[in-house]
C-alpha cells in the first residue's frame, strides 16, 4: 500500500515539478526507523521520495528558509497537519502563496520513532516492517513485534484533518484512513491543572532543569522565522541571560509561547526534537486553548483569516473590558 502511495506521490510531484525550482520531500533515513528530509532539484531524482508511517517531520520547517534561498517557486510534500503551518505562514504574509506549491498527502497517522527506539532500549535496528496493526523489527537483540497503535505521534490521537486537502495545489488521497486511537487533546493539560500552583511550579522547574538550551525547539518550528535575530541572544539590551538555569530556561520557553500565540499549529515538532524530552507542547496547547476560547480562532485552517493577534477589534466579543473610570 505504502509503495503504491509513494508511486502516486512521485507521479504527482513530476507533474508539479516544472513549476518549481526545488522540491522538499521525505527520503530514506539513516536507519530503518528514521526518514530524512530531502531537497530535489532535478526531475530524475524524484524517485528518492518516499512516504510512509515514519514521515513524522514537518517539512514546513523549511518553507520560510527555502523561500528566502530560492528565486523560483518551492514545492513541498506535506501532511495535512504540516500544511497548516504553511497556511499560517501564508496568512501572515511570510511566504507567498503562489510561490509555494503544496503537495498534500492524506495521512493514516505517523509513528514517533523515538517512542519505538526508547521501547527497544536504543538497540541497533537492522530492518523494520511497519503495518497498520504491527511493527516487525529486527534488532541486534533479536526480532520483536510491536503494536503499531502504541507508537503514534501524540498529535495523531486527536487529528481531525487527516484526509483534508488543506487548500493545497495537489491532493493525494491515502487509501488507508487515520488509525491512531482517539485521545483527548487536552488530557495532559487537564492533569497539570488539577495540581495547585506550587506543584505546577515544581513540575516546570523539574522539566526546565533538564533544558540544555540547544534551541532545537525554536529552530525546528516552522513559524519561528526570526531565529537568526532572536531576542534571547541580544547583548544590548540583555533580555535573557545565557546561563542555563531553570528560571532562565523557562523564561526562554515563555518567550516562545508568547511569540506563537495565535500562530502555533501544534505540529509537535518542538517536543519531538527536544533531546531532553521536555513536555513543551503542554504550554503551546494551553496557549492555543486560550486563543480558541477568546477569539474562536484555530491557526492554519484558513489562509484568508487574519490571525487575531495581528489585528484588533474595537470590541472583542469574548473579552470583558474593564470600565474606564
Amino acid at each position: 500500500m505504502a509503495k503504491k502511495l509513494t508511486e502516486t506521490i512521485i507521479a504527482k510531484a513530476e507533474e508539479l515539478f516544472d513549476q518549481v525550482e526545488v522540491m522538499a520531500g521525505y527520503s530514506k533515513g539513516s536507519n530503518p526507523l528514521k526518514v530524512s528530509p530531502c531537497f530535489i532539484e532535478k526531475k530524475q531524482d524524484l524517485d528518492q521520495l518516499i512516504f510512509d508511517k515514519l514521515c513524522i517531520n514537518n517539512l514546513a520547517t523549511y518553507a520560510y528558509r527555502l523561500s528566502k534561498q530560492v528565486k523560483g517557486n518551492i514545492g513541498m510534500v506535506l501532511k495535512p497537519c504540516d500544511a497548516k503551518a504553511v497556511n499560517q505562514l501564508i496568512s501572515e504574509e511570510l511566504i507567498d502563496r503562489a510561490a509555494c506549491k503544496m503537495l498534500v498527502v492524506g495521512c493514516a497517522g505517523v509513528l514517533d520513532h523515538q517512542k519505538i527506539s526508547r521501547h527497544l532500549g536504543g538497540a541497533r535496528v537492522f530492518s523494520a516492517n511497519i503495518g497498520p496493526e504491527t511493527i516487525e523489527v529486527e534488532t541486534a537483540e533479536g526480532k520483536k513485534e510491536l503494536k503499531t497503535a502504541d507508537f503514534y505521534a501524540d498529535k495523531c490521537h486527536w487529528c481531525s484533518i487527516s484526509d483534508q486537502d488543506m487548500g493545497g495545489d495537489v491532493f493525494v488521497e491515502n487509501q488507508q484512513k487515520l488509525q491512531a486511537p482517539k485521545k483527548d487533546r487536552f488530557e495532559d493539560v487537564k492533569q497539570l491543572e488539577k495540581l495547585d500552583l506550587d506543584q505546577i511550579e515544581a513540575y516546570w522547574k523539574d522539566e526546565f532543569s533538564r533544558c540544555i538550551r540547544c534551541y532545537a525547539c525554536r529552530n525546528v518550528c516552522p513559524l519561528e522565522v526570526c531565529q537568526d535575530q532572536c531576542i534571547v541572544h541580544l547583548d544590548f539590551p540583555n533580555w535573557q541571560s545565557q546561563k542555563v538555569v531553570p528560571s532562565e530556561n523557562k523564561f526562554f520557553q515563555l518567550i516562545r509561547v508568547m511569540h506563537l500565540a495565535g500562530r502555533c499549529v501544534e505540529c509537535g515538532e518542538c517536543q519531538r526534537v527536544c533531546p531532553q524530552n521536555i513536555g513543551l507542547l503542554k504550554m503551546m496547547k494551553k496557549m492555543n486553548q486560550q486563543i480558541e476560547t477568546l477569539f474562536n480562532f484555530t491557526p492554519g485552517m484558513d489562509v484568508e483569516a487574519k490571525p487575531p493577534l495581528l489585528t484588533y477589534k474595537t470590541v472583542e466579543e469574548n473579552i470583558e473590558e474593564e470600565e474606564l473610570i
Binding site: P37, F39, N57, G121, A123, R210, A216, R218, Q242, P275
Partner: protein
C-alpha cells in the same frame, strides 16, 4: 600499573557511597520520569537512586545505556562565572571610577563513574584543548586535576555507535584512571594511573587484590572481550584511513556535495551540546546596574550568530559553510592541530539530530565526491 583488583557487585553501592563522602561522585542513571539516562551527582539523588531493577525509585543506576549528554559538563560546565566586577567611584574624586575585579572558582573533588571508553577518549581531547599550549585554561584545568575517571568496558553496540571507525575501541582504557570489566558477580578493576592507584588503595575495604595468576587471566579476558565488542561494530569508513581523512577533506573543500548534505540542517545546537568533544564557548556579561558577572557559556558553530561580526558581515552566512566548518573542525583542522580526530564515535549527535543528519554518511558522501 599492573595491580588488578576485584569488586563484588553487592559492594558497588557502599563503595560509591563511601567515595561520595569527600568527592562529588557522578553516576549514570536513568530518570524514570522522563526515561533519560544522564550523569547525576550521587549525593544529590542518593535517596532516590536504586541499584538494580525492581526497585521503586525515581532513578535507577544504568551501566549499559549511553548517557544522553556527555560527561564533559563535570569539568567544563554549560556555563561558569569567570569573574565578578563592579564599578566603584573614588569618594575623593567622583569623576574617577575604578573597576574592581574578583575571581572565585570552585573545583570540588570529583569522580566520574561508569564512563564509556568513547567518553574517556573525549576527555583526553578536551585536556589537549584546555591544557596544552602557551595559555592553559585555569578554570578547566583545576576541575580536571581534581577529577578521577572510572571507566566501564562497553559490550553493547547502540544504534549510532561508531567508535571503532574513528580509532577507538569499546574497551579502550588508555585515558582512564581505573578501568572496570563486568565479570559474573563482580567487577574486575584495572589500575592505570597514580590517581587511580591512590583511589584503589584508599578503597581497600571494598576492593580485593587479585593474585598474579588471576590477574593474567583477567587481563587476557579483557582483551578478548574488547576484541569481540569491536567486532560487533562495523566500520563506517572502511576505505579511508583516519590519517588520510584530513587530506581528503582538504581536497573536498569546494566539493559540490556540501550543499546537498547540509541543506536540511536547521542550525540548532543539539549535536554540539551533546558532543563530548565540542569545546567552543562565548563570553558574556550579566550586568545589574554597577556590578555584574562575566561568565562563559557553551556556543555552537551551526548558529548564524557564531561568526556574525560587529560590522554585520557574516563570513559563514549560510548553513552550508557552517556545517562544512563543523565537519572540518572535527575531522580535519583539529587533526592537523592536535594529531587526532575530534570525534570519538559516540554517535550522540546522530541520535539527537532533529532532521536525521548522520555525520558518518555525510563525511562518507563528501569524501566519495572527491575520489576518482
Amino acid at each position: 600499573m599492573e595491580t588488578i583488583y576485584t569488586l563484588k557487585k553487592q559492594d558497588l553501592k557502599p563503595w560509591l557511597e563511601s567515595l561520595a563522602q569527600d568527592s562529588d561522585v557522578y553516576v549514570p542513571a536513568r530518570d524514570r520520569d522522563n526515561s533519560l539516562v544522564d550523569f547525576f551527582n550521587l549525593s544529590e539523588i542518593k535517596d532516590d537512586l536504586g541499584f538494580g531493577q525492581g526497585q521503586e525509585k525515581r532513578y535507577v543506576l544504568d551501566l549499559v545505556e549511553k548517557t544522553k549528554r556527555s560527561p564533559k559538563q563535570v569539568m567544563y560546565p554549560h556555563w561558569e562565572d569567570l569573574l565578578d566586577f563592579s564599578y566603584e567611584k573614588d569618594p575623593e574624586n567622583i569623576e574617577d571610577e575604578k573597576i574592581k575585579l574578583s575571581v572565585s572558582q570552585e573545583a570540588p573533588n570529583s569522580i566520574i563513574f561508569g564512563l564509556k571508553s568513547c567518553d574517556c577518549q573525549a576527555i583526553a581531547k578536551m585536556d589537549a584543548v584546555f591544557g596544552q599550549g602557551i595559555v592553559k585554561d585555569p578554570y578547566y584545568m583545576k576541575r580536571r586535576e581534581n577529577t578521577v575517571l572510572i571507566s566501564l568496558g562497553c559490550d553493547t553496540v547502540f544504534e549510532d555507535c561508531f567508535c571503532t571507525a574513528v580509532g577507538g575501541s569499546p574497551y579502550g582504557f588508555d585515558h582512564t584512571d581505573l578501568g572496570l570489566m563486568e565479570d559474573g558477580d563482580h567487577y574486575v578493576v584495572f589500575v592505570y594511573t597514580k590517581k587511580g592507584n591512590a583511589l584503589a588503595q584508599a578503597s581497600n575495604s571494598y576492593l580485593a587484590k587479585a593474585d598474579a595468576k588471576d590477574g593474567q587471566d583477567y587481563k587476557s579476558r579483557m582483551q578478548e572481550r574488547g576484541r569481540k565488542a569491536s567486532e560487533k561494530m562495523s566500520s563506517m569508513w572502511p576505505k579511508t584511513a583516519v590519517e588520510d581523512m584530513a587530506e581528503h577533506l582538504n581536497k573536498a573543500f569546494d566539493a559540490s556535495q556540501w550543499k546537498k548534505v547540509s541543506q536540511q540542517c536547521i542550525s540548532c545546537g543539539a549535536c554540539t551540546f551533546v558532543c563530548p568533544t565540542c569545546y567552543c564557548f562565548d563570553i558574556r556579561d550579566d550586568k545589574d546596574n554597577r556590578q555584574g558577572k562575566r561568565y562563559r557559556c557553551w556556543d555552537f558553530c551551526t548558529s548564524y550568530l557564531y561568526t556574525l561580526e560587529a560590522s554585520g558581515h557574516n563570513p559563514r552566512e549560510d548553513i552550508q559553510k557552517r556545517y562544512k566548518n563543523k565537519v572540518n573542525c572535527k575531522y580535519n583542522y583539529n587533526f592537523q592541530r592536535q594529531g587526532h580526530l575530534y570525534c570519538v564515535g559516540c554517535g550522540r549527535c546522530v541520535e539527537v539530530c532533529p532532521v536525521d543528519m548522520d555525520i558518518r554518511q555525510i563525511v562518507a558522501a563528501v569524501l566519495k565526491s572527491k575520489q576518482p
